[in-house]
């Protein structure tokens, strides 16, 4: 089977970007919307075809899914061994990501034609959306680490451009800058990791890097060399994971994600919930055989970072009032879940349950989180505010948003039968068999998630009805149709047999719901929902009272544990004020002054000796005669004595 046509999946959004970018003054908004959405539509259809052919026709050889190289060219030859290629790699996870990215992106495109209606920058917005889609698709099909890094940077810049879409708003500009620089810092780790890994392995290629012979990596990794007790491969993979942690907003590189909510809401749905932020998870999954077989220490780091981030973000989410920020922290928490799942996974068969669960959760999360964000967008569109304090009782004004948002809410809480229930259960089961501490953290997070999502849901749709300036109304069909479609996915995505399709070694295995875990956790989630119901379904003073009684703790959590302040101190006070300022001063007043000093000394010297050439005969005569005397004196002295 020739998969070369998959080039079009990536190529179309790029061509759309060029068309919309170069002609953005000349196209009408309507036409731009149609071009953007239809090109993504074609990409979506092609992805579906690819997925069908790959999973059900040609992907499997000897009962295991293979990596297929659909296309590959050398883009830049670096050394004799190392070269950067551009290509398309099809394997279960990349095909899955193609589906996820094109689905969400298509929904967001359609949604945006309604949401961004009448904006002056409409065409620019669609151009950037296409650029993002292109970069993200290029990232997921990368055949080698460096191609991934290239598209990794490109999604970063698309994210920067879209967060700063309202460029006249200083807060949006600051947020876009923060996002770019934080992830750039993380990418430095990624780059050094690539350099280290390629130095020892002599390749960037995923085929060679992740090829296995049963339960061993085919490639021999450098043994013996170690640094601070960890092998060099572990260091390389930890550094690579640093890049992933930056993009996926893992603690402590998460600070940009809440601020990134300054971007238009469809962007938050696409980039900062469903696709780009899971790139870190995808990166670890892509190199999973190397992690699990060669660098289990690095995988342990992944696990703890994921578990801690999941808990940390869930706690903060309970106190926030900006609905998009609640969702942002929720995203961070859920991605922590996926990381954790990878961290507890082993390789092959049922041992690789965590890997499968992580990919499963990635997919279901993309659906319900995109839905939550788009629903939030619909609400913000109606209420003109992000704060849940300005909302309440919206149920009767916005029925479609209410129902679809409700489905997503139940899905993320792990309501039995909806998608989140299945994927979360697999993660918990994987954690349970690997590490009990991580398991209990994950359970706690599940309870917290149910609480803060219910808090959000009840405060928006129930609670106290506000006196709105304009009566809120349901959004237009261009916005509600994507909501309905995503709601369908969010409901049924859990029934996809992931254990047959996407596993750590490509071979299907049997997986069942572990009721011994599922039942208590579901009950805990119901408990969280009930608590939120008691606090927020009807106007209540309880939450405020509790917050007041826990004043210090509450404020600390509300201020996100002051991590932003720490960063601000390091960057602003130390790097900017102390380091940069002193370097600038040093350059002007020491180095440059030294150079000027040479000039001054030369000048001074010539000033002081120029008197010698005054042109006065008397002076010359005096010097001459004096010289003769001195000379004569020396001669006499030498010869006579």
């Amino acid at each position: 089977m020739d998969f070369t046509y998959t080039l079009a999946i990536i190529g179309l959004p790029f061509i759309t970007f060029l068309i919309l970018g170069l002609l953005h003054n000349k196209l009408s908004h309507k036409l731009a919307g149609i071009i953007g959405s239809s090109s993504l539509g074609i990409s979506f259809i092609l992805s579906c075809i690819t997925a069908y052919f790959y999973f059900f026709k040609y992907g499997k050889i000897d009962g295991a899914y293979q990596k297929i190289e659909a296309f590959n060219i050398t883009w830049l030859q670096l050394t004799d061994q190392l070269h950067i290629d551009m290509g398309i790699l099809l394997d279960p996870i990349s095909v899955m990501m193609l589906m996820v990215v094109t689905t969400v992106s298509l929904m967001v495109h359609i949604y945006s034609t309604g949401y961004m209606h009448g904006e002056t920058g409409f065409n620019r917005f669609f151009a950037f959306l296409s650029l993002f889609s292109f970069s993200m698709l290029g990232l997921v099909v990368a055949t080698n680490l460096f191609q991934m890094y290239i598209f990794w940077e490109l999604v970063g810049v698309s994210s920067f451009l879209l967060i700063g879409y309202y460029y006249e708003k200083p807060s949006a500009v600051a947020a876009s800058k923060k996002a770019f620089i934080t992830t750039r810092f993380a990418d430095l780790g990624f780059l050094i990791g690539i350099l280290l890994l390629s130095f020892y392995t002599g390749t960037f290629d995923f085929f060679e890097l992740t090829k296995t012979n049963g339960h061993e990596l085919a490639m021999t990794m450098p043994a013996g060399t170690s640094f601070l007790g960890l092998s060099i491969v572990s260091w390389a993979l930890i550094l690579i994971f640093m890049g992933g942690a930056g993009k996926s907003a893992m603690f402590p590189l998460h600070i940009w994600l809440p601020d990134a909510m300054e971007g238009p809401t469809p962007v938050s749905a696409l980039i900062h919930a469903a696709t780009m932020v899971v790139a870190g998870v995808y990166l670890v999954a892509r190199l999973f055989p190397v992690y699990v077989l060669e660098a289990p220490d690095a995988l342990t780091v992944v696990m703890w970072v994921g578990a801690f981030s999941a808990l940390f973000a869930a706690i903060i989410a309970c106190t926030q009032f900006d609905i998009k920020r609640v969702l942002a922290f929720s995203t961070m928490s859920q991605i922590g879940y996926m990381m954790l799942a990878l961290g507890v996974s082993h390789y092959g068969d049922h041992e690789g349950l965590g890997f499968m669960a992580s990919m499963f959760h990635l997919t279901t999360h993309a659906m319900f989180k995109a839905l939550l964000f788009l629903g939030a967008g619909s609400i913000i569109h109606a209420v003109h505010s992000n704060s849940m304090l300005d909302m309440g009782g919206l149920k009767k004004y916005m029925p479609i948003t209410f129902i679809t948002f409700g489905i997503a809410w139940l899905a993320i809480c792990g309501f039995p039968g909806l998608s989140g229930f299945f994927s979360k259960d697999e993660i918990l089961a994987a954690a349970y068999h690997h590490n009990k501490v991580v398991f209990y953290i994950a359970v706690l997070v599940a309870g917290l998630t149910a609480f803060y999502m219910s808090r959000l849901f009840f405060s928006i749709f129930f609670g106290k009805t506000q006196h709105y300036h304009h009566t809120p109304h349901e959004s237009p069909a261009s916005m509600t149709i994507p909501l309905i479609i995503l709601a369908i996915f969010a409901t049924f995505a859990g029934y996809i047999p992931f254990h047959d399709l996407i596993t750590s070694d490509g071979r299907p295995f049997e997986a069942h719901i572990d009721w011994a875990i599922a039942i208590p956790v579901t009950l805990l989630a119901f408990g969280g929902m009930a608590l939120a119901f008691a606090f927020y379904f009807k106007p209540s003073t309880m939450p405020d009272k509790i917050a007041a009684s826990l004043k210090g703790v509450y404020t600390t959590i509300y201020r996100k544990f002051y991590i932003d302040e720490v960063y601000l101190f390091v960057t602003q006070k130390i790097l900017f004020n102390i380091v940069s300022q002193s370097i600038a001063w040093f350059d002007r007043h020491i180095i440059d002054a030294t150079m000027d000093g040479f000039a001054t000394v030369t000048n001074y010297a010539s000033e002081s000796i120029k008197e010698l050439q005054s042109g006065q005969i008397q002076k010359y005569g005096f010097v001459f005669i004096s010289g003769v005397f001195v000379f004569a004196f020396i001669l006499i002295y030498v010869f006579v004595y």
Binding site: L78, I192, L195, F199, S580, I583, A584, D587
Partner: protein, 500 residues
């Protein structure tokens, strides 16, 4: 007339042509035509060069010609190019072409301005085609001296001081250079034959070790001054700040590259033992350059100062990569020269356009320009992204080639330096986004700016020429990289031999 000498002759004819014009209109027309021809010729040279290589010519230099110039000292007008020189000639003609369009509205003494500008460029072209060190040095001086007049007469701000400082520092470099060149010359015939200035001939012999060690610092620092080697870079911020737009473009875009080019073509190629032994010292200096320049740029508020410090950082990376002495890193160094040349020329062109409209270069007095002059602002963002190494633009290709190449070095010390230098990609992002954020985004700060006109056609010509070049290299770097790599073979082999 041979294909290479034309690169010196056409500028001279253009200068003569300008003499016959009366005013700005005539002068700029003649300059544009002359430099347009120059640009076409450089494309032609590129294709001819590729064809020559395809045809199987594996000589180190092609299109060589040699004319005796000064018999008693064996000085020749020796010319010839390899892939690197071709690439540098391409760069020069693109930047000069864009520079002419950026000076379209020069009000004062336009004829004299264009003559000086083109004189400078003919020096640069001459430098790149020369194979004889003496001729090379002559062209080098020809490029440096008009700079004094261009800054002193057409500059702005504290121009006399800056012009003097720049010229004196570069002349100081030249003084070191001539000593170094003579040092090589007098040891160019160890067996007592004819002394020579010819680079290819000298490259076939081995100069005594002690002589190499003595003269290497002269040559390396001499060229390094022009390449903004820390701590000899301080002419750059002041010089650029005072120079008129086109001069900044040419100077940062092309002239600073003579430094890097000389470093490997003369200093390292002819004195390989010394390069191997003393490389570590300069490697430290360049690593400092890279990080120090980037940090220095963060604190500046004048657009030109920001760009000048950024150049210190980027040009530091050029010499840094040269000192890694393997094919990949040196390939990256040359790509970085080209990439930096294009993007810094673009930056200075843009700064000139912005200054021409707002009459300030202080970023805090501006803001929200994206809304009023979108075309210029978008190009500014593109230039910024190229500078911070975004894939798809030239900076990324160059930097990644450098980092991967440098990291292949067998020494841990060199690899640690690579990691330190790589950290500059983060600092670069900081100062670029800071400027973009303050200058272009946010609300329009000064209400008077609401009436600014966006780019005119000649400004667009200048910008588009440079942006297209940056994008082409960024998208399809392979052909350029291969041309350069193949030409690096003799240099790398000689250095490797000295290393053993």
């Amino acid at each position: 007339m041979d294909i290479l000498s034309l690169f010196v002759v056409v500028p001279i004819l253009t200068m003569i042509g300008i003499l016959f014009t009366k005013d700005l209109k005539g002068a700029r027309m003649v300059s544009a035509i002359g430099m347009g021809i120059q640009l076409l010729m450089s494309f032609n040279l590129l294709f001819q060069y590729i064809a020559e290589r395809k045809a199987g010519n594996t000589a180190e230099m092609v299109f060589t010609k040699s004319y005796v110039w000064f018999q008693s000292f064996n000085i020749h007008y020796d010319i010839g190019v390899d892939g690197i020189a071709v690439a540098m000639i391409m760069l020069t003609s693109i930047v000069v072409f864009a520079g002419v369009f950026s000076s379209w509205m020069t009000k004062e003494l336009p004829r004299e301005f264009f003559i000086s500008l083109i004189l400078l460029s003919s020096g640069v072209f001459g430098f790149f085609i020369s194979l004889d060190m003496f001729t090379m040095f002559l062209f080098y001086e020809l490029a440096v001296i008009p700079m004094y007049l261009l800054i002193g007469l057409w500059g702005s701000g504290n121009k006399e001081y800056s012009a003097m400082k720049l010229t004196l520092m570069l002349m100081g470099g030249s003084a070191l250079l001539i000593l170094g060149l003579l040092g090589i010359y007098f040891h160019s015939a160890p067996d007592g034959g004819q002394l020579t200035f010819n680079i290819l001939e000298i490259s076939k012999i081995t100069i005594p070790h002690d002589t190499q060690m003595f003269f290497f610092p002269f040559l390396f620092v001499g060229f390094g001054v022009l390449g903004a080697l820390f701590p000899f870079h301080t002419w750059s911020p002041d010089g650029h700040a005072s120079a008129p737009t086109a001069v900044s473009m040419l100077h940062a875009g092309v002239l600073m590259k003579l430094g890097g080019y000389g470093c490997f073509r003369v200093a390292m190629f002819l004195l390989p033992d010394a390069a191997q032994e003393m490389g570590w010292l300069f490697l430290i200096l360049t690593t400092v350059s890279v990080v120090y320049g980037a940090f220095g740029a963060i604190w500046q508020k004048d657009l030109k100062y920001i760009n000048a410090y950024s150049s210190v950082s980027h040009c530091g990376l050029v010499i840094f990569a040269l000192l890694m002495m393997n094919k990949t890193s040196m390939d990256g160094a040359i790509l970085q020269m080209i990439s930096h040349g294009l993007m810094t020329a673009l930056f200075f062109a843009l700064i000139g356009m912005i200054y021409g409209r707002t009459h300030t270069r202080n970023i805090f007095e501006m803001g929200g320009l994206m809304k009023v002059i979108p075309f210029i602002s978008v190009v500014y963002v593109i230039a910024g992204l190229a500078s911070l190494g975004l894939p798809g633009l030239s900076g990324f290709v160059a930097e990644m080639t450098i980092f991967v190449g440098s990291f292949q070095h067998a020494d841990t010390f060199h690899r640690v330096c690579t990691i330190l230098a790589a950290s500059a990609i983060v600092i670069t992002a900081v100062y670029i986004l800071r400027v973009v954020g303050i200058l272009l985004f946010g609300p329009v700060k000064n209400p008077e700016f609401n009436h600014l006109e966006d780019a005119t056609w000649f400004e667009k010509v200048s910008m588009i020429t440079l942006v297209v070049s940056i994008v082409i290299i960024g998208f399809a770097p392979l052909w350029l990289s291969e041309i350069i790599r193949d030409s690096l073979t003799p240099i790398v082999e000689r250095l490797a031999l000295a290393g053993n």
